[in-house]
């Protein structure tokens, strides 16, 4: 998102004849238009959401993420801080590919771990691959009893398939 959505027009010195969107924006728009059938309240366990720096703080899609989460979850618990002020997953800026700095990265995840722990959530939904690794390392390092799942997989499990199987 950051590379193609924000930086690329400047790197290449021209504007593009298409827009650049993160997946969760497309899912939220489809859902709001009544096109994405998601089962309301499908997920009943306590769950929290990691606001990715790229899609939330930098691209501004907080409301889109919550529109979807509030629909499919009955027990959505916010971290504090959250949204634009949420702490980083620890894995941005290529930290996932720099094992030489892993010790500092894990040490810096203490604050995030306590945010997650305080929610009591059993699942952290993450909308970014870097966040997926960062939050997984975070809960493991600080022994927070929570699973981590990509937003795509989480939502795919909430799809109401009746419209598709009925045609078969």
């Amino acid at each position: 998102m950051k590379a193609l959505g924000f930086e690329a027009p400047r790197w290449l010195g021209r504007s593009f004849p298409f827009t650049v969107l993160p997946p969760l924006k497309v899912w939220a728009d489809s859902f709001a238009a009544g096109k994405l059938p998601l089962v309301k309240g499908h997920h009943t366990g306590p769950v929290t959401f990691q606001d990715s720096c790229n899609f939330i703080r930098n691209a501004g899609f907080f409301e889109e993420s919550r529109l979807l989460m509030r629909h499919v979850c009955t027990d959505l618990r916010e971290m504090h801080p959250n949204g634009n002020l949420t702490y980083c997953c620890g894995n941005g800026g290529g930290q996932g590919l720099m094992p030489e700095y892993k010790k500092q990265k894990l040490a810096a995840l203490r604050a995030k771990a306590e945010c997650i722990r305080a929610t009591g959530a059993e699942l952290v939904v993450v909308a970014c691959h870097n966040c997926e690794d960062g939050i997984t390392e975070c809960v493991k390092t600080y022994e927070v009893a929570a699973q981590v799942e990509l937003f795509s997989g989480f939502l795919a499990g909430c799809i109401d398939l009746s419209g598709h199987t009925a045609q078969d």
Binding site: P22, P23, R57, Y87, N91, G93, I159, Q167
Partner: protein, 259 residues
């Protein structure tokens, strides 16, 4: 920020730093924005509250403004630095920042600390000090079009395989490849293809469930950009251009990035 040209082409420090290359990249990064930001940072420290490194371990070297010190020094010294200086720059700017930009929300001047860390990383790249993991991913991306070195054949096979799986529960599912005029171009993180094809399955399921008019590109499906992380703008530009050209050729209205 004025960076004077070297008196002669070969300008090596006693310990082998190519100062001419350092000055070239310094000139490419210099501009009103960088100059303004470096000069107005008053070291007030309010950015400290913005950083998760600081929140987890409140020591002076975890105050975001501290990460600007090597860059500030570099310009002040007109690139007259040695290897030890650059190694320190590298370890501070790659090793203690995720470029998440949270600190900017706490800066009274709105200084873009992450873009400055990015510029500092670019200097490390020019000095040949890019972290190996990033360098390897970038080399893959340049050679194969994705940072995990997946071939086009492997990509197409994986798409076909996951579409077959999806049709078990969604018989009318489709995954058109290189379909001109589709509304959306779908792109991925290469591990969705190489290591976690279930992710690809989930994406196809979501877009089919929403009956979105999408296509995949056989040649440009990785929208990650390690050049961005590395601070290597020429490589970042080449990687972005590949995806942009594919989206233009397919005449899509929107490009959906990797999750």
């Amino acid at each position: 920020m004025v960076v004077h040209a070297a008196a002669h082409d070969a300008d090596l420090s006693p310990d082998g730093v190519d100062r001419a290359a350092i000055r070239r990249v310094m000139r490419s990064k210099a501009g009103a924005r960088l100059s303004l930001w470096l000069s107005i940072c008053s070291r007030c420290g309010q950015c400290a509250e913005g950083c998760h490194y600081y929140a987890s371990n409140p020591s002076p070297e975890h105050v975001p403004a501290f990460r600007l010190k090597p860059l500030f020094e570099l310009y002040r010294r007109q690139g007259e630095v040695d290897r030890e200086f650059l190694e320190r720059l590298r370890d501070i700017d790659y090793g203690t920042c995720t470029m998440c930009q949270r600190c900017t929300m706490y800066c009274p001047h709105g200084i873009g600390i992450a873009p400055l860390v990015h510029a500092a990383r670019g200097v490390a790249v020019a000095a040949g000090m890019i972290p190996q993991g990033l360098a390897k991913g970038m080399a893959n991306a340049l050679e194969f079009g994705n940072n995990l070195g997946v071939t086009e054949e492997e990509f197409l096979e994986t798409v076909e395989w996951q579409l077959e799986e999806l049709r078990e529960e969604m018989p009318d599912a489709d995954a058109p490849v290189d379909k001109e005029g589709a509304e959306f171009l779908l792109t991925f993180h290469p591990r969705d293809i190489k290591f976690y094809p279930q992710n690809l399955f989930n994406y196809l399921k979501l877009y089919n469930a929403a009956r979105v008019d999408f296509t995949l590109s056989s040649r440009a499906w990785d929208s990650t950009n390690l050049g961005l992380f590395a601070g290597d703008v020429p490589t970042a530009t080449r990687l972005a251009e590949r995806v942009v050209e594919a989206a233009e050729a397919l005449r899509v209205k929107a490009l959906i990035t990797a999750e």
